[in-house]
């Protein structure tokens, strides 16, 4: 056993991204994580599957876990959970808001069996208020949290808002939030002996990716934010189309030459000046007077940058103290020399589908080094072993299987 969570046992009721990702982080940190899935597999195994009940995304969110199948609407399956939880430190769950109580795996039920349980629950919108019982995924949360409109990306077909797609940001950030909720709950238990229920939501995570944008501040908002907001509301009331509202929220600044992407001869770069010093360095470098800048001057800068290679620009701009980087593709990351030098991509062997690489956990511990990760389990791999550990006979296991309970 290795890692700071060595010896910790986690029972995970999870689907899709957020809680599976959190459970994977806990497994990477050395916890023993047992994932419970319905007998047909959770929905993420079936989404874009390339082999029966195996998808690439699922395999990248569930490494290092044990896996058992249970049909949780059956009392006998619930009985198995109640026997399992006695030996668990943590329950992690991201089912629909009404599911835990329905399946008798809610905090009240399980903490009666295991009083010092750390029980961490993720809903889409939080457990109070009008939306408490609403199901939801990343996209819906991007919409109601303001992230989608703030991003201002639109679909090429009809101009409707487009989802932020480089990362399912509400889901993945919730994975981090949940893992930290579990571990801080374990720390509290270590210090006091107390368990507790800890609540998280996709919506709260999404708000915490833009706290200064959501924040209301009478003094700071008076000059720009509130007038733009009022203008947008006025146009919205007059029936203005969505793209016009986006334009009011996210005005284009065509003369900004210091914080944007450029094409080069063989790809692209960004110039990423933010501080006053960096910005004046950009103007100085291209010999541009910001007070007289116009479309023609911006075009000159664009053509100048496009005439040389990415490598030449990165060298020149870095020498001038201007923040810059080559524009690279996600697909290039697995063979990127810098990423390789850091050993962040690890090779795994999946028991059914074979060789794969994955991004390792982004933490390096000096005193509790992490073990090398192992691949995600096939569906129900550990069901029989776990039931035997609980004392179920071969005959009972066979009957449960026959009845579709496991």
């Amino acid at each position: 056993m290795a890692g700071p969570l060595a010896g910790i046992r986690v029972l995970e009721f999870s689907q899709v991204i957020a809680a599976p990702f959190a459970g994977q982080i806990l497994a990477d940190l050395g916890a023993e994580v047992l994932k419970v899935e319905p007998p047909g597999g959770e929905s993420w195994r079936l989404q874009s599957s390339f082999a029966p009940a195996e998808s690439k995304s699922y395999q990248c969110l569930n490494r290092g876990k044990d896996d058992m199948t249970l049909r949780l609407d059956k009392p006998e399956a619930q009985e198995i959970v109640h026997r399992l939880v006695v030996d668990m430190d943590v329950v992690l769950i991201n089912y629909r808001p009404d599911a835990p109580a329905k399946f008798h795996i809610d905090y009240a039920t399980l903490s009666a069996i295991k009083p010092d349980l750390v029980y961490v629950d993720l809903t889409a919108f939080g457990r109070r208020g009008d939306w408490a019982m609403r199901p939801g995924y990343d996209g819906a949360v991007q919409a109601v949290s303001g992230l989608m409109a703030a991003e201002g990306k639109t679909r090429p077909d009809d101009g409707s808002p487009a989802t932020i797609s480089s990362s399912a940001v509400a889901d993945y950030s919730s994975g981090y939030v949940l893992a930290d909720a579990v571990i801080s709950g374990l720390y509290h238990r270590e210090m006091t002996g107390e368990g507790q229920m800890i609540e998280c939501s996709l919506l709260a995570s999404a708000l915490n990716l833009q706290p200064h944008v959501v924040m209301e501040h009478a003094i700071a908002d008076a000059a720009v934010r509130n007038p733009a907001r009022d203008r947008r509301r006025e146009r919205s009331a007059q029936g203005a189309p969505y793209e016009e509202l986006l334009g009011i929220r996210n005005p284009d600044d065509p003369h900004n030459i210091f914080y944007r992407a450029y094409l080069t001869r063989d790809g692209g770069i960004v110039i990423a000046a933010e501080t006053p010093n960096e910005i004046s360095a950009v103007y100085g470098f291209f010999d541009v007077d910001p007070s007289t800048i116009d479309a023609g001057i911006v075009g000159d800068v664009e053509r100048k940058i496009e005439s040389l290679s990415t490598a030449e620009w990165v060298t020149r701009l870095q020498r001038a103290g201007i923040p810059t980087a080559p524009i690279q593709f996600s697909e290039e990351m697995t063979s990127n020399p810098h990423v390789e030098a850091n050993g962040w991509i690890v090779e795994l062997e999946h028991e059914v589908t074979g060789r794969q690489t994955q991004v390792s956990l982004p933490l390096v511990f000096s005193a509790t080094p992490l073990a090398r990760p192992v691949a995600a389990p096939r569906l129900g791999r550990d069901t029989r072993r776990i039931l035997q550990r609980l004392g179920y006979s071969e005959e009972t296991v066979a009957r449960l299987k026959h009845e579709g309970i496991i």
């Binding site: 992230l147 930290d180 501040h217 962040w344």
Partner: protein, 399 residues
């Protein structure tokens, strides 16, 4: 009060990851001392509305104390503060660190200290030691290309602007570093150093994209290799398309309504069946066993049906569609602007928006922490400190 009560945290940082990590500690009841140079923490100057005061600083430093130290003349005081800290947060991802500290120094002063550190690019490789803001990271880490937003020329990528998620994500990863190191110290008495980086987190937050899978990638591999080869040959971005299969998914996307926009969030087969009824369409797409996302004829047919759905959704208001989709059991939500969230009652019902009073700015409305502990259901929030507000009281401890 809170789960970290009694702990002392020294935040020696000037970036989003360090601020996010210190904020979680403060929200959990630790005493968090932000060490600032005389010019102030860098975030004080990002879109400042007054000298040394900005929304992002105030949003990410509530409940902390501010101590101004001169990096040279106050080095001894900094050492004394490190000697008394349970946790040191050292993060200088964007710019060179102002204060010259490292784990070896901290451990010599305080053997049980937990020292967490974020860098931009990690410890090895050609970019190690460099700094990076969010745009640099978007470009280097692939998210800018993957996001696929374009400037008006239709080719040059455009900036991801809704959230600096490499920085916020790295802050959340520092939280994990802190909680797991605290757990280990509580169990063994041993402190340690834990490191993370913006780039490594940005790769982790992209899910399976920065990973290869021999079997899963079989069908997409030829297009991907063609693209990588074009890149190696030095092709212009004008001549490169990412090898992404066209996904027709009319049941997991936003639509414009008569008076705004809604998101239809049917992610699973069962929900898509419900959405088909609610949206009055028989488009099966990926749920048709004969569906081939690489067949242009099928794609064209599905796109045609999708246009019909777009037209259909536009005939009713957002409120009407929310009612229809909710009644059908389809996950949904209105597309709202962040500046309108203060009007959303649900956020107050969940205490997601809380009133925080600042010494000079007065009452502000802030986003509450994303974790609600059953043992501490109602934390109290204090405003961010003005520059150096707590210097006299903290220095008195070492007089």
């Amino acid at each position: 009060m809170g789960i970290y009560r009694g702990l002392t945290v020294l935040e020696v940082a000037g970036d989003i990851p360090g601020a996010v990590a210190g904020l979680a500690c403060a929200d959990r009841g630790a005493e968090v001392i932000l060490v600032e140079p005389p010019a102030g923490n860098a975030l004080r100057h990002v879109d400042a509305y007054a000298e040394g005061e900005s929304k992002i600083f105030q949003a990410l430093h509530r409940g902390k104390k501010s101590v101004v130290l001169d990096p040279v003349t106050n080095a001894r005081t900094l050492s004394a503060l490190i000697g008394d800290a349970d946790i040191v947060i050292a993060s200088a991802t964007e710019h060179s660190p102002v204060f010259d500290i490292d784990y070896e120094l901290a451990r010599a002063l305080n053997p049980e200290v937990i020292y967490v550190e974020a860098t931009a690019f990690g410890q090895d490789g050609p970019w190690a030691g460099r700094h990076a803001n969010d745009l640099v990271m978007q470009a280097f880490g692939g998210t800018m290309m993957t996001e696929g937003k374009k400037r008006t020329d239709g080719v040059t990528p455009s900036v991801i602007q809704s959230t600096r998620y490499a920085g916020f994500g790295t802050g959340l990863m520092l939280n994990i570093a802190i909680s797991s190191a605290l757990l280990h110290r509580a169990r063994t008495g041993q402190g340690q150093k834990v490191e993370t980086s913006l780039l490594h987190n940005l790769l982790a937050l992209q899910g399976g994209r920065a990973s290869d899978n021999d079997l899963a990638d079989k069908r997409s591999r030829p297009a991907r290799q063609k693209m990588l080869e074009a890149r190696r040959q030095g092709a212009s971005l004008k001549d490169i398309t990412r090898p992404v299969p066209v996904i027709i998914n009319p049941f997991y996307r936003a639509y414009q309504t008569r008076d705004g926009a809604i998101f239809v969030g049917a992610l699973t087969r069962g929900l898509r069946d419900k959405a088909r009824i609610a949206l009055d369409t028989d488009l099966m797409a990926r749920d048709d066993p004969n569906w081939d996302p690489y067949d242009p004829a099928q794609l064209a047919e599905a796109a045609e049906e999708q246009r019909a759905i777009e037209h259909h959704v536009k005939q009713k208001s957002t409120a009407e569609w929310l009612a229809i989709l909710e009644a059908a059991g389809v996950p949904t939500g209105e597309v709202v602007f962040p500046e309108d969230l203060a009007q959303t009652r649900h956020l107050y019902d969940n205490d997601y928006l809380v009133e925080v009073t600042h010494d000079t700015a007065g009452k502000t409305l802030q986003v509450a922490p994303p974790v609600r502990y059953g043992r501490f259901p109602a934390p109290e929030f204090k405003g961010a400190p003005t520059l150096g507000r707590d210097t006299p009281t903290i220095l008195k401890r070492y007089a």
